[in-house]
């Protein structure tokens, strides 16, 4: 027998978005906090690629996932045993783009127009990209008092690949950086832009990061930026980002969940104080963004996760949209999904004075 107790093994996966988990990984804090609780840490995509699907399905007993909420909501609605332990708000909301020489100058002008909508051909999992875009388009139309029946949503079918490379990597930074620096990989998410530029559609929805890149190329412009709207529900767009964990791990090793959150809280606070350094780290993870864009985004938001009433209400907004538009089939109770006990403990107790944001 080895003198070392059998270690708890935790696996993590993070979307390429602005969440503190990335900084906790990059600074080594996540690994260090888990180590204190005798837990080891592995990146999901350091395992053979047959196991990578858990990023989307959460089908794994020891997985932490931080990122877009649509997949987390879908996994929960499909009966995966997960707990929601933190949320990070982003006010991105997304934008509607048209060509620069288009006669469409505002969303109200979209009456009778064709709007492109990404469609993943493989039905193995929820099409979160499409769901995000569909919600953004409907919100924009609603704000401009245009009825959905007055526009044509044009499906833009996209077939894989799911992973530009299936070679295991050690960290998210390595994964996204390799992907972004590879000139041969086709960026499947440029499908909408291609359709807009070719004239196949008159408008598309994109997130702010892509919008900035696409506009910088000089051929398209934004006629709506949902982040400028005072209504925060207009900004629910695969956000707030959800930090979820497998229930099995949460029940058997709550101390590991608390350790994860401690590292993330530390990272969230560090981002606020060290925006330039944080931008350099995020730049590698979201490589298509410029460092300047990242720094500007970091200045806008807070990165310590919470389970505030507003953030939970935002998850409810997203869930109801997914139900109504049949992206998910089963309803569930968001309040019961959320478990704030880990966050409270990580923050130093229920009565800890947390800066309000």
């Amino acid at each position: 027998m080895s003198k070392i107790k059998s270690k708890t093994e935790a696996v993590y996966t993070i979307c390429p978005v602005l969440v503190a988990s990335h900084i906790a990984v990059a600074k080594g804090w996540l690994e260090a906090e888990l180590k204190k609780k005798s837990a080891s840490l592995k990146y999901l995509r350091s395992l053979p690629h047959e196991q990578w699907l858990a990023h989307f399905t959460h089908e794994r007993a020891n997985l932490f996932r931080d990122g877009g909420n649509i997949l987390a909501i879908w996994a929960r609605s499909e009966g995966r045993k997960t707990r929601l332990i933190g949320l990070t708000f982003s006010g991105d909301g997304g934008q509607i783009l048209t060509r620069i020489n288009s006669k469409i100058n505002q969303v109200a002008d979209l009456k009778g127009a064709k709007i492109g909508l990404f469609k993943r051909v493989n039905p193995d999992r929820i099409d979160f990209w499409r769901a995000t875009a569909e919600r953004g388009i409907l919100v924009a139309l609603d704000l401009a008092r245009v009825k959905q029946k007055d526009v044509t949503l044009v499906d833009l079918p996209v077939e894989g690949p799911d992973y530009p490379s299936t070679v295991p990597v050690n960290s998210p930074a390595e994964l996204w950086w390799n992907q972004a620096s590879s000139s041969t990989e086709k960026d499947i998410y440029r499908t909408e832009l291609d359709a807009l530029l070719s004239g196949a559609v008159d408008a598309i929805y994109v997130n702010r990061g892509r919008s900035k890149i696409y506009q910088s190329e000089g051929a398209v412009r934004a006629i709506e930026d949902l982040s400028l709207r005072p209504d925060w529900t207009a900004q629910v767009a695969n956000t707030p980002y959800t930090l979820t964990v497998s229930e099995d791990l949460a029940v058997k090793h709550p101390e590991v969940v608390v350790a994860y959150l401690k590292a993330v809280i530390k990272a969230g606070r560090w981002i606020k104080e060290n925006q330039k350094e944080a931008a350099v780290i995020f730049k590698k993870l979201i490589a298509k963004w410029t460092g300047g864009c990242v720094a500007a985004e970091l200045a806008k938001y807070h990165f310590v996760p919470n389970l505030s009433p507003k953030n939970l209400a935002a998850i409810e907004v997203e869930k109801l949209f997914l139900l109504k538009h049949k992206y998910i089939t089963n309803d569930f109770n968001v309040q019961e999904w959320a478990d704030s006990s880990y966050l409270e403990e990580a923050q130093g107790g229920k009565d800890a004075v947390i800066p309000a944001w």
């Binding site: 934008q95 100058n105 506009q215 910088s216 190329e217 000089g218 934004a222 006629i223 930026d225 400028l228």
Partner: protein, 352 residues
């Protein structure tokens, strides 16, 4: 040090270089104020001469036509495009994005609160009597008005566009540097003659640049009913901007090191502004028409002064050129991409 600078042979005869800059947020203005433009040019054996120091008749004309040897011009892109299209062979060596787009202004007491309320109303459009140059202020006004109507769901036929003729004062003032010339301008002229028409009720609204609109608003008599910079659509912000830095093609060909030296000064100034915005606002207030240093500081808070020749900036020049052609402000078309020469900017950036 750059290759260009290292290769420069000792220059025996000093080259005289002229410059002129519009009263806008361009790093060139600060490079002049800090003395860096003079310093950089001196290093390559060039002596700097400000266009408006001359007291000759029509000394201002090359500010628009670019018909003067060894002239650098930084500022509003409309005269630069006109010069290239119809007057002089120049190269476009830098562009500075401005996010402002301009404002529509009405009398505060008029009850007009938004562009939609201008249906059937009169909007002032400046018309210069000066036949020697492109009527750039009219072009800017026309593009701004059309943009504002467009996003309000209106078109030209929904309003009455009223020409406000100006027998443009042809003595433009003189001075050792831009700050002196602009300070010598009477307020009425600096803010635009359409203001009088608005004040007297001959029109109901006018379009103007952000600095002038803020100055009008401060008087308490006027209010801003549209800010084209508030939209996500960047094409609405293209109006006499991005600011264009141009130079005679033959100087660029014969003395590339002088162009690189100018850009070095501009880049140094831009970096300095980006890092010292409050101090920069004090300098920029001298060379623009914003009502105060504080208003200037606010206006430049999110502004990137570093000149570049990015795809979007170049596309913006294409948009302006098309507008000028379609509305008869320029006669000849030209290829924007071949006007652009990024080699000087690349060399300058590399050398710093």
């Amino acid at each position: 040090m750059s290759n260009v600078l290292e290769q420069t042979k000792p220059v025996t005869a000093t080259t005289h270089v002229n410059y002129t800059i519009c009263p806008v947020f361009a790093a060139s203005n600060v490079a002049v104020e800090l003395g860096w433009l003079e310093e950089e040019l001196k290093k390559v054996g060039a002596k700097l001469h400000y266009l408006f120091t001359s007291r000759e008749e029509k000394q201002w004309l090359p500010h628009f036509t670019h018909k003067l040897d060894n002239l650098f011009r930084d500022g509003g892109n409309i005269p630069s495009i006109w010069a290239k299209a119809d007057n002089t062979n120049t190269k476009l060596v830098g562009l500075t994005w401005s996010p402002h787009g301009g404002h529509v202004v009405a009398r505060a007491a008029s009850g007009i609160a938004r562009v939609g309320d201008l249906k059937g109303k009169r909007i002032a459009l400046y018309k210069s009597g000066n036949q020697h140059k492109v009527d750039w202020w009219r072009a800017t006004g026309e593009l701004g008005i059309l943009n504002a109507l467009k996003v309000a769901g209106l078109s030209r036929k929904d309003v009455e566009i009223t020409d406000i003729a100006d027998d443009e004062d042809q003595s433009w003032g003189a001075g050792a540097k831009p700050a002196e010339v602009w300070a010598s301008r009477p307020t009425d002229r600096a803010l635009g003659v359409e203001v009088r028409a608005l004040r007297e009720g001959r029109v109901d609204a006018l379009y103007t640049s952000q600095g002038r609109a803020l100055a009008l608003q401060e008087s308490g008599d006027y209010t801003i009913i549209e800010d084209l910079g508030r939209y996500p659509d960047w094409t609405l912000q293209v109006n006499n901007s991005p600011y264009a830095l141009t130079v005679n093609a033959d100087l660029a060909e014969k003395r590339p090191e002088i162009v690189v030296a100018y850009l070095r000064a501009a880049i140094r100034a831009a970096r300095w502004i980006n890092a010292n915005r409050d101090a920069a606002a004090t300098l920029l207030h001298r060379v623009t028409f914003y009502p105060s240093v504080a208003a200037t500081a606010k206006a430049i808070a999110n502004y990137n002064f570093l000149p570049d020749l990015s795809s979007r900036n170049v596309a913006a020049i294409g948009i302006t050129k098309r507008f000028l052609l379609e509305h008869g402000y320029i006669k000849n078309d030209f290829d924007v991409k071949s006007w652009v020469d990024s080699s000087f900017l690349e060399e300058a950036a590399k050398s710093l």
